[in-house]
Symmetry: C2
Subunit: 251 residues, 2 copies
Amino acid sequence: MEPGETVTGTGPEPVLGVAPGQVYGVGVGPGDPDLMTVRAHRLISGAEVIAYPVLETAESFARSVAGAVIPPSAREIPIRIPMTIEREPAQAAYDHGSRCIAAELDDGRDVVVLCEGDPFFFGSFMYLFSRLSSRYRVEVVPGVSSLTACAAVLGSPLAARDEVLTIVPGTLPDAELGRRIDGNEAVAIIKVGRHLPRIRSVLDRLGLTDSAGYVERATLPSQRIMPLRDAPAAAPYFSMILINRTRDPWL
Amino acid sequence: MEPGETVTGTGPEPVLGVAPGQVYGVGVGPGDPDLMTVRAHRLISGAEVIAYPVLETAESFARSVAGAVIPPSAREIPIRIPMTIEREPAQAAYDHGSRCIAAELDDGRDVVVLCEGDPFFFGSFMYLFSRLSSRYRVEVVPGVSSLTACAAVLGSPLAARDEVLTIVPGTLPDAELGRRIDGNEAVAIIKVGRHLPRIRSVLDRLGLTDSAGYVERATLPSQRIMPLRDAPAAAPYFSMILINRTRDPWL
């Protein structure tokens, strides 16, 4: 071991004389590659190893955003996440992914993990962070979140002055969803997707439908923007509802 | 007038034959210039005219973030905001600023407005947007908000899965502050500044001090991070408190 070299934790035995690599959890922003940060652009274009989550049946959204910047020589680690609401299979996938990443780190290579939007805003990066950050250096590079991207394309400020902004996952059960929205001046409902009809019923009951804007795939060429009352019955995974009761910008 | 040219609204008479310029409201991110987006970098480095808010007694924070990218040839429009809690002087400053911007637009020049963090996340850009967007084309370019930047440097996810995330301005009166924080699993308190001692008392009463992290000037060289219980008595304007009751990452 060289002076100044440190080995912590209980990971696989590092190669002697090689300082372990570092993890970069990099937010790639909401979809438009130009909304990557300068730092994300630099880290990705110089990466030796790149990891990203992939839902079983689809291509990786984070990888598609960064695709043009990834060097052809980079080794790629796709982390395949099974489509199930059970926790265990997904946990096993993150266990496996973090072992693959750790093997690269132990050989002295840095690993750039691509994250949709921002790594710590409802992102899956936290599952890798919790598995790796006690043993390796992890830098989180924040990105533009879908939250502010949706407000930008809607042309509607999220919140201002003394307003409280509440961010509610649309996956909550109806009663809880209503309780967490009711009485709040500015609300963003994320993870809309297949829950849209249910969410609309809740907002109808609260009298909020006409103060709500709907955005699909913000900042992508396929982006769609409309008042919630005109929204389609079926929403894609990347969709959001924004409500501000003190303004009616969508009317 | 040329075919295809449109003049709308009631602004100053445009120069004949000149298509009006466009406004870009550009988020410059939380402080580290590398956290500007690629698009922000490109728009600022190619700008003919740049506008930004300046608090009376300080330099412009947004300008300091973008400073190295601003071309020396760019014309600059500082919008001087008086330091007062009265609304009228600030309104007058935004009236004046938007008239200066409109004069450039009418001459056919685009104007890049620099915004701290993200333009529509509790930003002052909305005051220019409301004055200009009915008469001119305005594109809002989202940026990395201080919210996700603070979570990144704290090494602590803001929220995940079905958690509700509540963003509360620390400027609210004590009782209201307590009511909007109490019972919520994940809370970010923004606009802390001189309200820190008051906010700490409220969090003490709610038993939340030990679940709270404190960040000053996230992503700047002068950044400071600590558990809230160790925070100084006086906080700068750019400070934030993050609370997640389901995790205790700062202990």
